[in-house]
């Protein structure tokens, strides 16, 4: 199993990666779940992963794949809900602005959220997003544009949430 350097890497990057996953999956607990799964896989392959240029990018990629994977969806909700029920401390309340944004993001296709997060949160250039997601740059740009447009519509020009008529 991985050793001290893995644990140092894990502690240094865990919260940041969870934060990056929240806009994608729309929930802190779900974000923790996918990030923990990704770190678990990293621990299995740590002797290789730690030699990569950016091991955190590898973990994020695994977390994104896991979040997007159809394989996990069947039992996933149930497991997350079980964990939520067992959790002693609730997540501190988010601001209204954050709640609105999460609600809007959740109405976008996962693939659009993924690109939006890599562009706006991780701040990758579109070429790099294409490389990481193995997508043509044109596809990245189109998902980005559609995501932007949809968010603008959902949030309204003044940034307030649009009503449910677009659901």
């Amino acid at each position: 199993m991985a050793g001290a350097d893995f644990e140092a890497f894990y502690r240094a990057n865990y919260a940041r990666l969870v934060g990056q996953m929240v806009p994608v999956v729309g929930d802190v607990h779900e974000a923790e779940d996918v990030v923990q799964e990704a770190f678990a896989r990293a621990s299995l392959h740590w002797s290789r992963v730690r030699g990569y240029h950016a091991p955190d990018a590898w973990v994020r990629r695994v977390a994104l794949n896991y979040a997007l994977s159809g394989l996990r969806r069947a039992g996933y909700r149930r497991r997350v809900l079980e964990r939520l029920a067992q959790r002693a401390e609730p997540v501190p309340a988010a601001s209204a602005e954050v709640v609105d944004m999460v609600a809007a993001l959740r109405r976008l296709p996962l693939r659009q959220r993924e690109v939006l997060v890599l562009f706006y949160v991780v701040e990758l250039p579109v070429e790099e997003i294409g490389r990481q997601l193995r997508l043509p740059v044109g596809t990245v740009k189109s998902r980005l544009a559609r995501g932007r447009t949809a968010l603008a519509r959902l949030l309204g020009a003044d940034g307030s949430r649009e009503e449910a008529s677009h659901a």
Binding site: L105, P125, R131
Partner: protein
């Protein structure tokens, strides 16, 4: 909505998530990892059981794998760039013609593997003054200590399709290339290119199509390497190609091929250990390392991590127990690459010795297991590390010969520890690398003075590029020293 506003608002969601969580105990991850392994094992057992019930394994003749039966692949038609003669190579101008265990005339250092996206993903120091480096656009050769480079890329393929290379000497070399620049499907098609005239002409031979089953090869990202196909030859005729693919399921797929006619025909061997690269020390004796921490033992031991050897040219493998030195009793041995054999008898296996577990684990020492009898016995030679010299990541280690061992230690490889007496006494010196090339990924020495390193300029595990930028992922350098690692110059070939 303006871009800046969108950035701010999505960023606020991420910041909220980041603020409200804290990492659970790593034991949670380890339990989860064990469950995953158990799940995969169970699936593997079920699949194997189903195949056995159907009699498919017997038909394939390969226990555990019927997707790619062991077949001898007939040679492909010669390419248009083929040399005038079609006879298989028997020797080259700079190698001997010994039929057995022919050592290379010069010490052969292993290819150093960087990242597929760096500007110099791999290189090999073949003699003290010559070697090759792969860049994004070409395979380049130097014969003058990396002062000048000439292009030797097989004209049939772009450099971006090269997955591995190996030169036995200054004339004889092999390149393995993929049919596609980025593999994304379940089939990976590979071809071997061979030169016997220092890269002036190349002939190619098919290695066949590797079937990943229901998995897909992961183009070239997912940590970078995508598909590695590393040749290793002990003489002009006998060699292997070790293939490892990463995949969209994050599972490694491993294949091993053998040739005894210089690469004209290839036979797929039974399932090898899960290794990136296997090396030969004789036509039938080979070595491989399954990376990871192996509990020190004098017997075969448990678990996959460890040193493996074959004496029947890769048909069967056995794991070799390694004994830690008395002063490091109980330490775990971290292995990551196969031994380098400078001659058929003199081999060097780089290791790290770790102690403790969980949050208290640390690197106690680094060094080598050394053999002078062709691998019959392995003796640890090591140097304890001061706390300030521990690296967050792998310690680059290299052997220049029996009397010359080196380790680059400390933050950003700022210090070199050198032994000139086979690992008994070690002398520290500054490398001058600190702040310039923070991530040294590969290291090879031809003797106690002359060495190459593949290094990254913009990223290391200490500075993991947050957020990653193109510069972090793309910059790399080939560094050369002729002073035993105390001074380095950037010799990266253009292109």
């Amino acid at each position: 909505m303006r871009d800046e506003e969108l950035r701010r608002r999505i960023g606020a969601v991420a910041e909220h998530g980041e603020r409200v969580v804290s990492p659970p105990d790593p034991a949670v991850l380890y339990r989860r990892a064990r469950r995953r392994v158990a799940r995969l094992t169970a699936v593997g057992v079920l699949v194997a059981g189903a195949l056995l019930a159907g009699g498919l394994l017997a038909r394939a003749g390969l226990p555990g794998d019927d997707r790619f039966p062991a077949v001898t692949v007939p040679p492909s038609p010669p390419s248009t760039a083929a040399p005038p003669t079609t006879a298989p190579p028997t020797t080259s101008a700079s190698t001997t013609t010994q039929p057995q265990a022919a050592p290379a005339r010069f010490p052969v250092a292993p290819p150093m593997i960087g990242d597929a996206e760096t500007s110099v993903p791999m290189a090999q120091l073949v003699t003290p003054s010559s070697g090759w480096a792969l860049t994004r656009t070409r395979l380049a050769w130097t014969g003058d200590g990396a002062r000048g480079w000439r292009t030797i890329t097989p004209r049939q393929i772009p450099a971006g399709r090269i997955r591995g290379a190996f030169f036995l000497d200054q004339r004889t070399g092999w390149v393995v290339a993929s049919a596609k620049a980025r593999e994304t499907g379940p089939l990976v098609r590979l071809a071997v290119y061979r030169t016997t005239d220092a890269g002036a002409t190349w002939r190619w031979y098919s290695l066949g199509a590797l079937d990943l089953g229901k998995d897909d090869a992961a183009g070239g990202y997912e940590g970078g390497f995508g598909v590695l196909a590393m040749p290793s030859f002990v003489d002009p005729r006998n060699g292997w190609v070790s293939v490892q693919t990463s995949s969209t399921r994050y599972e490694g797929h491993h294949f091993l091929f053998r040739t005894s006619d210089g690469g004209a025909t290839w036979t797929r061997l039974p399932q090898p250990p899960e290794v990136q690269r296997a090396v030969l020390s004789s036509p039938t004796r080979g070595w491989a390392v399954v990376m990871g921490q192996a509990a020190a033992t004098s017997g075969p031991g448990r678990g996959p991590a460890g040193l493996y050897t074959t004496t029947d040219a890769g048909q069967t493998w056995r794991r070799i127990g390694l004994v830690p030195p008395p002063s490091l009793r109980g330490a775990r041995i971290e292995l990551r690459e196969p031994p380098t054999f400078k001659t058929p008898r003199d081999g060097f296996l780089p290791v790290e010795f770790h102690a403790g577990g969980g949050g208290s684990a640390r690197t106690l020492a680094v060094g080598f297991y050394v053999t002078a009898d062709g691998g019959a016995t392995w003796t640890p030679r090591y140097v304890p590390l001061a706390a300030e010299d521990e690296r967050y990541g792998q310690v680059p280690l290299a052997a220049g010969g029996q009397g010359s061992l080196l380790a680059l230690v400390g933050h950003e490889a700022r210090k070199v520890l050198t032994s000139r007496d086979g690992g008994h006494a070690w002398t520290p010196a500054a490398t001058g690398l600190e702040g310039r090339y923070p991530a040294v990924r590969g290291l090879a020495f031809a003797d106690h003075r002359t060495g190459w390193a593949v290094a990254g300029r913009g990223v290391s595990l200490e500075n993991s590029c947050v957020p990653p930028t193109r510069r972090c992922d793309s910059d790399g350098a080939l560094l050369v020293t002729t002073t035993g690692a105390t001074t380095w110059s950037d010799a990266t070939p253009a292109g």
